[in-house]
């Protein structure tokens, strides 16, 4: 077994030192009848080559985002990640280290977390950010709990155009925690109606409103007025961003008055990975920092007066506060923070803005081309790199047909809202820097042939 260094002789010698006859003597606390005699019913050990064959065969059964014209988004986006990012995150000292509990020998991790927190704060337009959540959706659920703590109220209002998976994640945690939740209906055709509905639902019990921008249909929202409305009522505005690249082109939630911003950071540095691991970004105002979930890295000095970094404000966390902690999170998304921060460092202001501009331009180009397809309607008044189209008939069938023609066209709304008949003819279409003119031409052709 290539991973196990002990030789049979080592084992014998070590047992002698310990003073037992057999290794099972060390398992004496396991009830005799429960100690397995033989092996579990799984295959025996394999060499690298065999494992590669088995796994390679499974991998080969999937159609990858790079091999076809690819327009699937709805919370996870295909972007190009520079080669140096994946190289650097595989440095042993990053990959095989633990949460930085011993800061003297973890300054590498701690410094990039400090840089990550700063980048997230700058991007979202907020004062402080934490060292990550699991992903955007769990971050959103934690944000709602945080708003409850800050306001000492227990009722959240979710905008209808919030990603349904985010809604369900929040809904599950809220229901289990015994909190109240108002979840509004989606409104693809009139995005401003969604904010009006949220505004109308705010009352004296409301702890927070949760609004996504760009929303799940791709519409951009000016949150300034609703932020004020919420805050006047003593509630917080939680803004959700599922496509962080948008922040290179649009006004960030912090500039519109958001109290908490949660975002999915996957687009920067992290691959699609069939849904995980991703990285949740979580930012807020300085005055709420003690109610924040998750780890925080802070600056300090060492005994020789040199700048250094440590995990700080840990009394919020489970390992100290236990049942009174702000969250139960322990392991977070460390290495994905690293991927995010390296990619963001490579981009810089100039690169991020260029990347965002290309995404937007490509999406506009596709929208323009679709205007010429009979029976197809782009629903959005505004969008960044994703929009919703209405097609005649069953959108899920259209997407399947297009897949057969070698185009992965987007997410049929029915996949996310199976019970909403009115959304059956809608497809969410994302367009990033990876899509070429040829891809868009292929999209239009495949769509035309699938209606």
């Amino acid at each position: 077994m290539r991973y196990l260094p002990l030789t049979p002789q080592d084992r014998t010698d070590m047992l002698a030192k310990i003073g037992v006859a057999a290794v099972d003597d060390l398992f004496a606390n396991v009830p005799k009848s429960k100690l397995l005699k033989g092996l579990v019913d799984l295959p025996k050990a394999k060499g690298e080559l065999d494992v590669e064959r088995i796994m390679g065969a499974m991998a080969a059964e999937n159609i990858t985002a790079s091999e076809v014209p690819f327009f699937v988004g709805a919370g996870a986006y295909k972007h190009h990640v520079p080669a140096s990012v994946d190289h650097l995150i595989q440095r042993s000292e990053f990959l095989t280290s633990y949460t930085p509990y011993q800061p003297e020998i973890a300054q590498g991790t701690l410094q990039y977390l400090f840089e990550f927190q700063t980048q997230v704060a700058l991007l979202t337009g907020m004062e402080v950010a934490n060292a990550s959540m699991y992903d955007g959706s769990t971050g959103a659920a934690e944000a709602v709990l945080m708003a409850h703590r800050v306001t000492k109220r227990r009722k959240a209002i979710l905008a209808g155009n919030l990603h349904p998976h985010y809604r369900d994640t929040i809904e599950t945690l809220s229901r289990m925690a015994g909190d109240e939740l108002v979840s509004l209906e989606p409104n693809p055709a009139d995005a401003s109606a969604d904010l009006k509905a949220v505004a109308a639902a705010i009352d004296a019990e409301t702890s927070c409103i949760v609004i996504q921008t760009p929303d799940v249909f791709g519409n951009l929202h000016d949150l300034t007025a609703i932020a004020k409305k919420a805050q006047d009522a003593g509630a917080l505005l939680i803004a959700v961003v599922t496509e962080v690249v948008s922040l290179g082109a649009v006004t960030p939630p912090g500039a519109m008055g958001a109290d908490i911003v949660v975002a999915e950071g996957q687009s920067i540095g992290v691959g699609l990975n069939f849904g995980g691991p991703y990285v949740g970004l979580f930012a807020t105002k300085q005055k709420y920092v003690r109610q924040m979930p998750g780890r925080l890295c802070g600056e300090t000095v060492d005994a020789e007066g040199r700048r250094g970094f440590v995990l700080t404000l840990s009394t919020r966390e489970q390992h100290i506060r236990r049942e009174k902690a702000t969250s139960n999170i322990c392991t977070n998304s460390g290495l994905m923070c690293l991927a995010f921060t390296i990619h963001m460092t490579l981009l810089g202001e100039t690169g991020l803005r260029r990347l965002a501009a290309i995404n937007h331009a490509n999406a506009c180009d596709l929208a323009d081309r679709l205007a010429d397809v009979d029976g197809v309607e782009v629903l959005n008044g505004s969008f960044f790199n994703e929009f919703a189209i209405r097609v005649p008939g069953d959108a899920a069938k259209v997407v399947e047909k297009m897949a057969k023609k070698g185009v992965l066209a987007g997410v049929p709304a029915a996949r996310l809202w199976p019970k909403h008949k009115a959304l059956k003819d809608i497809i969410l279409v994302a367009n990033t820097e990876v899509n070429t003119d040829d891809d868009r031409a292929a999209f239009v052709a495949a769509l035309g042939a699938s209606l």
Binding site: R290, T312, S314, T315, I320, R321, K324
Partner: protein, 124 residues
């Protein structure tokens, strides 16, 4: 002169008429190590004897401060938020936590005086 009484949990209350000033003993601040944050009750809050009324945090621990008596909080120390180290530097003086209007003076009789508290510390 105001008298000071102590709890077994190392809070003190300095009694001045019907108002008591609550803080933690020198021994307690020493045990806690560097205090980095104090969470205080808002004035007007009603507390019962033994209720957790404040939280004192060091880097690695958070401890509840129990009110030594029942009553109503009349003031919280406004200086601790910006200077939590005061709890270490001057626990009996500037490092007080909150003042409470004592509802039931009889409760004070259940507390230790200076000498009894000293004797109690010797048993720890």
């Amino acid at each position: 002169m105001a008298t000071t009484k102590y709890t077994k949990d190392h809070e003190y209350i300095r009694i001045d008429g019907d108002v008591g000033t609550v803080g933690i003993s020198h021994y307690a601040q020493e045990q806690l190590g560097d205090v980095v944050f104090v969470e205080l009750p808002s004035s007007g809050k009603a507390v019962k004897k033994g209720d957790s009324a404040a939280v004192v945090e060091s880097v690695k621990a958070a401890s509840d401060i129990y009110s030594p008596v029942s009553g109503q909080v009349v003031e919280a120390n406004p200086d601790l938020e910006g200077a939590p180290a005061t709890v270490n530097d001057d626990p009996a003086g500037k490092g007080w936590f909150f003042k409470v209007k004592i509802a039931n003076p009889a409760e004070l009789d259940e507390l230790m005086d200076e000498a009894a508290y000293k004797a109690f510390l010797d048993t720890l």
